[in-house]
Amino acid sequence: MVLGVGVVGCGGQGLAHIERFLKDGRVRLLAVCDIDEAKAKETAKRFNVEYYTSYEKFLEHPNLDIVSIATPNYMHASQTVAALNAGKYVLCEKPMALTVEDCDRMIEASEKSSRLLAVGFQLRFKDVFQKTRSLIRELDEPMNAYVLRLSPNPYDLNLEWRRGKSLTGGLILSMNCHEIDMMRWLLGEIEYVKADLKTMLYGNVIDYEDNAWLVLGFKRGLTATLGSSMTAHTSIYEYTLICRNGTIKLHPWENKISVFQEHTSKTIATDKDDPLQKEISCFIDSVEEGRLKQPLASGVDGRATTAVIKAARESSEKGGLAVKPRGGFKS
């Protein structure tokens, strides 16, 4: 039986999902949904599928097996829960949800309905990060890590939902959930967070931080720092991982990894791949096999990241004290 797919959210990321589902070829795109009728209609016409402006009606489509959620961040939780309750397999874009409680509701819904829930941390599928993950093992115990993600404002602040912390989750959730998830995936569970969050430039437009400093303490003992900015004049995205037997530096957008050792260093060019395609194909594999396949992020992964970011907010409010990420779910 060919799996039927519906995509909710016909913005850039929704279209990106549609293209990858079609390119995979194992599924059939049946419907799209967007509250903006013109957008929904245009997308439906382009791909020759049905369109909905009502999410409830969309979920009533008789042949939908998979729902892919690519809507503004604040909608993820309720839409995911509704889709799972309707018996759909759900691929939810990052961040999973704005609050830990929402994440818990999503995980519970997935358990109750026995339907898979995956969160779209697509960087896990990028060759440059997969190679880094095996390099960390080769180079022995990581001792220190620095992540910098600096750029000019990447968001369209004309969109209302991009301006409010209660709708986007702020810079550290909306953007840096990628880095938190990646650091968890590379370095393990995070035990405490210290943070300083500041609004330096866009204070008259947004109510969240545009610059952030996070210190992350990991269970295995190492401490990492994450610097984030949306007020820079160039884009810098780099990870430096100091391991016992070598230091790794990676530039994800250039698909480049450098390994420095005492007397040698090596720079490797990794694949210029399409991580979203790999993620969506892995999600389809997972649905077919009835279990989440590595390295797809689960609801528990998505929740852990939201919990770290919540702890960062709390820490920043307390002047940078260490805060343990936790929440209501089974803890």
Binding site: H263, T264, S265, K266, T267, I268, A269
Partner: protein, 326 residues
Amino acid sequence: MVNVGIIGCGGIMRGCHIPILAKMSNVKLIAFCDVEIDRAKESAQMYKANAYADYREMLLREKLDAVFIAVPPYAHGFEVEVVEKGVHVFVEKPVALDLNTARRVEKAIQRSGVVNSVGYMWRYLDTTDKALEVLMESGPVVLVEGHYVDPFWLPLGHWWLSKSKGGGQVVEQATHVFDLARFLTGDVERVYAEFDYSLIGKYAPGSDVEDCSITVLKFKSGAIGVITATCISRNTYNFTDLKILAEKTVLEHGGHRGFLRVYRHNSIEEHRPRVDPYALEDEIFIEAVKKGDTSKIRSTYSDAVKTLEITLAANESSRAHKPVEL
């Protein structure tokens, strides 16, 4: 124990060879010679040795196994007298300023059969070993590109600023790049050079050394190369290097910086030196003197004459505006 004498107590000797030799347990520094006797005395005092202003006197009075020679380029040639006494010689580059002198010394060395070595220290870097190893599997070398970009900060009247005393930048300095190119890609058959002198007078009034040069090389293997040098880059653009483009690999040797970068399909590797090439060239020379086995010496006198020949041909070509066949 190898009894060593020093001829020429200038910068390279005092900054480099003397402290290295002094640390070696199988070497005894027994005599120091410099035409400026005070320089010789200074070192002699430090190592409880004898000082001489005249090398002939030193050769006469001391029982020397080997001498280390670092004199200004114009002062070479007397090595004939040293080797005729059966004393082994380590000579700093360049070995002379003209081929007649160099060949005279070369013949004397051959007749005497003494151990001989010339201070082209880049040859002793482990990164140079790595370059040779990588070149074995890189296919033919097609293009060689080298640089010697360095400012001079010398007092007016210094021998380096006079072509008849120092030979100019190509003969005296860039010779390291020419030599490494030869070591890694073989001998040269044709040389064409353009030299420029337009700025040197501004920084060193009266100087006649080239301030910029480009030398095009045709190697016997078929490869072509170009070596660029300047001595007036008084800014942050200062470096030495030699790039070798082979069919499958590009090598970048960092010269004085010592590193070797290997560019392959989808990867760049950088190797940094684990050895001090100055110490290694001295140790290997002393070892060869002790054991009579010269197989580890990487730059013999005869080999260095070939490098000199290229740099002299570059000068000749720049004057004649014509390629010079070797």
